[in-house]
Amino acid sequence: MAKVILSGVRRTYEDGTEAVRGVDLTIEDGSFFVLLGPSGCGKTTLLRMIAGLDPVTEGTIEFDGRCVNGEEPKKRNTAMVFQNYSLYPDRNVYRNIAFPLESLHRKAEEIDRKVTEVASLLDITNILNRKPRTLSGGQKQRVALARALVREPSVFLLDEPFANLDPSMRKALRSDLLAIHAKTKCTFLYVTHDQAEAMEMGDRIAVMKEGKIEQTGSPMEVFRNPVNTFVAGFLGRPKTEIFPASLLPGEKSILADCGAFRLTFPKERFRDPAVLDGEKAQAGIRPDSFVRTEDPAGFTVILSDLHKMGAKTEAVASFEDRSFHVLLGGEGLTEGPLRLAVREEEALLFDEDGRSLLLPVPVEDVPVRAVPKAFSEDAAEQDDRSGFARFFGTFFSGWWDLLMLNLLFLVSCIGIITIPAAVTAMCRIVIAMEEEEVYFLWKDYWKAFRKDFFRSLLGGVILAALLYAFAQAGRFYGQLSATRGYLLFLGAVMFGMFLLVCITGIWFFPMHAMVDLPVTTLLRNAFVLAVSNLKKTLPAIAAAIVSFVLIGVMLWPYSVLYIISYMFSLTALICVWFVYPEIRRRVIIKE
């Protein structure tokens, strides 16, 4: 049992996306609060923040006056029911329900008593020994509810719990849930995108859009007095029809001319009755506010696409070039012309930006508890380019981008090809020596270098081509997020290597094909020398790690690619640096 207060709550993801943009909300103790909104509006994120699963970027969440920001979920004493049930598949129903109590180290008798109690409340005593995979959707959700209820939480969070169920099951579970709420008097926070569900279940509802709360109130309040066209359109089916109108102020009333029909609003209904003559506005008419009439003041439409739904009939009405949905009562409707009128007292009026112009109509029997504050932040500019384009876009733009990119890859290629070749040639000569002193001849060196160079060239070209192709793909297919892009690429490469290894049975095949023998030979030889002088090489290893990390950070988000491509040449360079004294000691250089 807790009162939950959210003030200025925001959630920004690492990539800069704002999921929740400043929410102020008061959820009274023991109320059934419904968060309603289209998919992706941030309602689930908000719920997860209240549960403690997601961190709060800004603002505070209070439970009974205690700030719970940063507190672990288990300390908040919340319970959550997920859309996909999230039952533990290896435990039977009994042990699933007992799980939260086991975590709290309760005594076995107490666990047994509580589980039996909750199971009988939810009518699942006969399935306590079964595993979750043998249950139907409805049973699974009952078990999930039981698991949440058993620990007697102070706040009960439900994330679209019935979305995966069939309608009749949904109906049954909804009424069960309401009964449970009445019995436990616990604070319920229910997230849904289904406006009918919200209207039916909530004491209070909050309508969310793009991370902000548009309106809070009792279901009827929100339904009757939507603050803007979005809320008007979201609540009620079929959707509220919006007609462009121009206002004509009179002495006691204001006339809204919608073309097909005119609506008269008394001035006392307006928030601000001082409207200009001919001011543009939008009229919102719910489809069931249209009525059949014989009155000549009405307007004639052509009815089509009739769907009889018991007492009411849904149809599409066309007037001149505009068509809209109507929901009409009575018998004997046929396709063709029909005279309609609008119930003016139910009509809504919004300004050009979609904000309501009318004062709220009082709705009976509903105490007003929370009023949302006004929000005034601008919609953050969405940067929908890929990480690649974003990253390079900060330095270059347009053709510069392309030029620099190509230059970068040219340098990479040269590095990939030459460095290992040069280093390996050196090492080959050093390692090949068997006697204590070796005469180093530049002629021999160049011979070895040429040999290694052409070998490396092939591998380097393949690697560079892959890198280049990938970079270009990332550039032009900006829709693919950077992470996914290179994971895909690396996944493909790895899979290919796996295949090669499986087929040939040669572990090193990919390396031979890509950068060829030099690097591996070099690594092996350098390792032997390095390990025999472990003290000397420790700084080298540290330096290598630091360089990798630095390069990775500098070239984020493409660090993985770069690290892999540079790893070999960099290691080689560093190893040679430390092996060099050995070379100097043993090799006599002759010009």
Binding site: R48, A51, G52, L53, E72, P73, K74, T78, A79, M80, F82, N84, S86, Y88, P89, D90, F99, P100, S103, L104, R147, R151, M494, M497, W507, F508, P510, M511, T520, L523, R524, F527, V528, A530, V531, S532, L534, F548, V549, G552, S559, V560, I563, I564, M567
Partner: protein, 290 residues
């Protein structure tokens, strides 16, 4: 999609498969046959895979021999015990640490995770046997780990990346909502692993355990290099090779070698026959879902 093959194609395919089977099986059959022959019969040669009068004396002799291979006071049973100890230790390390690290990499969110992961994965492309052989020997002997425990540690760590890859692929299939539910139900990061993830990843861990057991049992290089100090610690596979120089007569005792090989290979063959479904399943699961 159902793939249909023409009759000549089928014939060619079957010929090919039969050839591969023959190539794979001939050495095995030969070993099995030679293990019940006398050394004289083996030396005679001929194409007869099994002798007219098979004998189990070779097995008796190998098992009861007091000076097998390198050590003077270790028997074949001791080497078997060593193999079992090393393999079981490897399996324990693999199951415990792979599951833990896969969970951390897959579910954890700590700075440098991706870089660490890719470096770790990068070790898959370094041939553990040849490139790192010398450094490994140096490091383990400096640390005083040139014993059975050391072999287990080395075998576990060199196979780490590929095991991790398989396990992470499997963990991806476990819904993250399960973690969230467990967190709400009062679990910490560690207890989610212990109470939820570990029981759920049993199938893949069983596969990995089997593969590591097999790998460890059959590993020749590391035990041979690392257990030179106390040769009675040596594993079965290493001891088998040393059989060739025992017997006293100076000639290579092929019959004893073959019997020893059969004794060393049998546990694995039996294990595979019992659990082959798990081998195949686990690998394909990791591949598809990863």
């Amino acid at each position: 999609m159902h793939f249909r093959m023409s009759t000549p194609g089928k014939i060619i395919m079957y010929i090919f498969l039969v050839l591969i089977v023959i190539i794979t099986l001939v050495p095995l059959v030969y070993t099995a046959g030679a293990s019940v022959k006398t050394n004289f019969e083996i030396a005679q040669g001929g194409i007869k895979p099994f002798p007219d009068h098979p004998t189990l004396d070779n097995f008796k002799q190998v098992w009861g021999m007091n000076s097998v291979g390198l050590s003077n006071n270790a028997t074949y049973a001791d080497y078997t015990k060593n193999s079992v100890i090393v393999s079981l230790m490897t399996v324990c390390f693999v199951v415990f640490f792979t599951s833990m690290s896969a969970y951390c990499f897959q579910r954890g969110n700590f700075p440098g995770r991706d870089i660490l992961y890719w470096i770790f994965m990068g070790t898959m492309f370094v041939a553990a046997g040849s490139v790192t052989m010398f450094p490994l020997m140096q490091i383990t002997s400096k640390l005083g780990l040139n014993n059975r425990l050391g072999v287990a540690i080395v075998q576990f760590s060199t196979a780490g990346a590929s095991n991790l890859f398989l396990t992470m692929g499997y963990l991806k299939t476990i819904s993250k909502d399960m973690d969230d539910a467990a967190r709400i139900d009062g679990c910490s990061f560690f207890s989610i692993w212990w109470r939820i993830i570990l029981p759920l990843s049993k199938p893949i861990l069983a596969t990995i355990a089997l593969m590591s057991f097999r790998g460890s049992w059959n590993n020749y290089l590391m035990p041979m290099l690392m257990l030179t100090k106390r040769s009675e610690w040596t594993t079965l596979v290493v001891a088998v090779v040393k059989l060739q120089s025992t017997g006293g007569s100076g000639a290579t005792q092929y019959n004893l070698m073959m019997a020893g090989t059969m004794l060393a290979a049998m546990p694995m063959v039996i294990l595979f026959l019992i659990m082959n479904k798990m081998f195949v399943q686990g690998i394909t699961q990791g591949a598809v879902k990863g």
